[in-house]
């Protein structure tokens, strides 16, 4: 648990690394805390561990009720007994990302030099690779030399790709879902709107809102609302809301479209569980992600000689991380003759489809992991 006492918070299971972590930006965090959850049990050979990487606003509570909202785990459709990532068979680990606000070191954690106040906006910029290095420390701490699989959607997919690139010998199978090897200009643009909304909130106080005992709720809610639109498809919004009005048959003054109140709800429920400075830190980490750039501009070089088996999954209506992005990754993996499976799942639910009930996706993931388990000798 690495949280400034200023924030009254629920306790999170965590491990502290006193040697800290040196970041891509060159700065060194003196202390590193990684909050995590595990499900299932590690076998004697320590060969059945699956690391789940969460997305921008996700956390380590994959397959159990959320301690703040009480809602079911964000990937209970995927992770659990008898699910595609079967906790009767695999030891599932999920860590809150570096820069997050659910117990891992981030803007809410005590400042390295002034421990009685949180980092706030002074928290150093982190990258997806930094997040992965923090997770690697956790995996080492748990005594796992090789992960059977790393699975993640969206920003979790970025981490999955970074895992395969940074630690190829430690990843038997990698499943980046609805992912991309870099954040596009359009993606960065949407993030910037969110960041501007937060910065423009009068309660932001230059990021020192914690000192004033307030949160920039309005700005953070608008950031969430904007982002949420990018997570769904036009077809899904039309199917769900169309032009329906709330509580009236005519659009009179004071009446609202249903889609408006839906977005409002998305925004207001988000601010109760997420920290604005964390949102700034993590969106920036996503924007900075460009795996090819780390390897001289050639994505294939990130995977040269990789022993990892890949499954790439995209969704047909995802315009935030479109299929073309997954196809480009598949192409790079072909360049190094990697073992790669690639499917595009037909869905009209947009980017969010990776979190939702998509039977074809779940069957595909399930079959892929079973096939990999056979190749890894897990069943023997």
């Amino acid at each position: 648990m690495d949280q400034s006492p200023i924030f009254s918070e629920v306790p999170h299971q965590s491990v502290r690394f006193d040697d800290g972590l040196t970041l891509d930006c060159g700065r060194h965090l003196n202390k590193l805390t990684v909050a995590y959850r595990t499900y299932g049990s590690l076998n004697a050979a320590r060969s059945n561990a699956v690391l789940i990487c969460h997305a921008l606003t996700g956390d380590q509570y994959v397959a159990e009720p959320h301690p703040i909202t009480g809602k079911p785990g964000w990937w209970e459709a995927i992770v659990g007994p008898g699910r595609p990532v079967d906790t009767d068979k695999y030891f599932v680990v999920c860590a809150n990302v570096l820069g997050g606000c659910m117990g891992s070191t981030g803007p809410r954690s005590p400042h390295d030099e002034r421990p009685d106040e949180p980092w706030g906006v002074e928290f150093p910029p982190v990258t997806i690779a930094d997040m992965v290095r923090a997770q690697k420390k956790l995996v080492d701490y748990l005594g796992i030399a090789r992960l059977f699989a790393v699975v993640g959607g969206s920003m979790g997919g970025m981490q999955t790709l970074a895992w395969a690139a940074l630690y190829p010998q430690s990843v038997f199978a990698a499943v980046p879902v609805a992912a991309a090897s870099y954040h596009s200009a359009q993606n960065i643009a949407f993030h910037e709107i969110g960041r501007q909304a937060i910065a423009a909130d009068p309660f932001f106080y230059g990021g020192r809102y914690w000192a004033e005992g307030v949160i920039p709720a309005r700005g953070l809610a608008v950031a969430r609302m904007t982002a949420h639109i990018t997570y769904v498809s036009e077809a899904a919004l039309t199917r769900k809301f169309g032009r329906k009005l709330q509580g009236a048959s005519d659009l009179l003054i004071g009446d609202r479209f249903e889609v408006e109140s839906y977005l409002e709800h998305q925004g207001s429920s988000f601010v109760r569980r997420f920290d604005a400075n964390s949102y700034l830190t993590i969106t920036r980490a996503m924007d900075l992600f460009d795996l090819a750039a780390d390897y001289g501009g050639n994505l294939a070089d990130a995977f040269a000689g990789t022993p990892t088996r890949f499954l790439l999954v995209s969704f047909s209506s995802d315009w935030l991380f479109p299929t073309a992005q997954s196809r480009a990754i598949a192409k790079a993996l072909n360049h190094v003759a990697a073992n790669v499976s690639f499917v595009e799942i037909a869905s009209d639910k947009g980017h969010d489809a990776f979190l939702l009930d998509e039977p074809d996706f779940h069957r595909t993931l399930n079959g892929f992991l079973i096939g990999c388990a056979e190749h890894a000798g897990l069943d023997r």
């Binding site: 598949a330 360049h335 499917v343």
Partner: protein, 212 residues
């Protein structure tokens, strides 16, 4: 698949020449099956010969089916995606009953023998006597089990005969290591080794090639 649906490749029964093709592949080889359908052949090669077998398939429903069965298959197109692989990445690349349906058969063959030591190619033989007779006496495009679609909707845009294929191999410098003609049920035909007879009586040709 109903006739109303647009199809790119002929529907094929992998089991027909599965054993014949598998018989050409050495144990524990690295294999790429182009147009692998639901992955029956790569599964067979993994289970019976411990091959590192993978597949490319254009039809997403087939790809999903294959991956669901734990097989390493990716959605892709023979015409465009072979260029992505490095030289000599595989020991065998297989193109089963798909050559006649690709846009650039000659280029696909060239890519196959760039990325692999051996190429295994099978195709329905347009020189079979029944097709010749249908054209000769009926004066219309022939229809058989393999060529069962009207000329205006067939995915088989580049039909060839066994003799045509021999000629292409010679022109492009590919060594025919092994070849045979078979009927539609995959039974080897007795006229193998006599190309002219095979071209008349064989319903499909199966070739194992390598670069000279």
């Amino acid at each position: 698949m109903s006739d109303a649906q647009p199809v790119r490749f002929v529907a094929k029964n992998m089991r027909v020449d599965l054993t014949l093709i598998a018989g050409m592949v050495a144990p524990r080889a690295r294999v790429l099956d182009i147009g692998c359908g639901d992955g029956t052949l790569i599964d067979y090669l993994f289970r019976t010969k411990q091959c590192d077998a993978r597949g490319i398939e254009i039809d997403m429903a087939e790809v999903t089916q294959a991956v669901t069965h734990g097989l390493p298959v990716m959605q892709g197109d023979a015409d465009s995606d072979l260029a992505n692989y490095p030289d000599s990445a595989f020991d065998y690349v297989i193109l089963s009953r798909t050559l006649q349906a690709v846009e650039k058969p000659r280029e696909v063959l060239r890519q196959m023998l760039r990325i692999s030591t051996f190429a295994i190619v099978s195709f329905p033989n347009f020189g079979h006597w029944s097709l010749r007779l249908q054209l000769l006496f009926g004066g219309k495009m022939p229809m058989t089990r393999a060529w069962h679609r009207m000329w205006y909707e067939t995915p088989n845009i580049h039909p060839c005969t066994i003799r045509d294929f021999f000629a292409l191999c010679e022109a492009d410098g590919y060594k025919v290591v092994e070849w045979l003609a078979a009927d539609e049920d995959g039974k080897k035909a007795p006229w193998r080794k006599y190309a002219t007879l095979a071209n008349f009586f064989g319903e499909q040709g199966l070739f194992l090639l390598r670069k000279v």
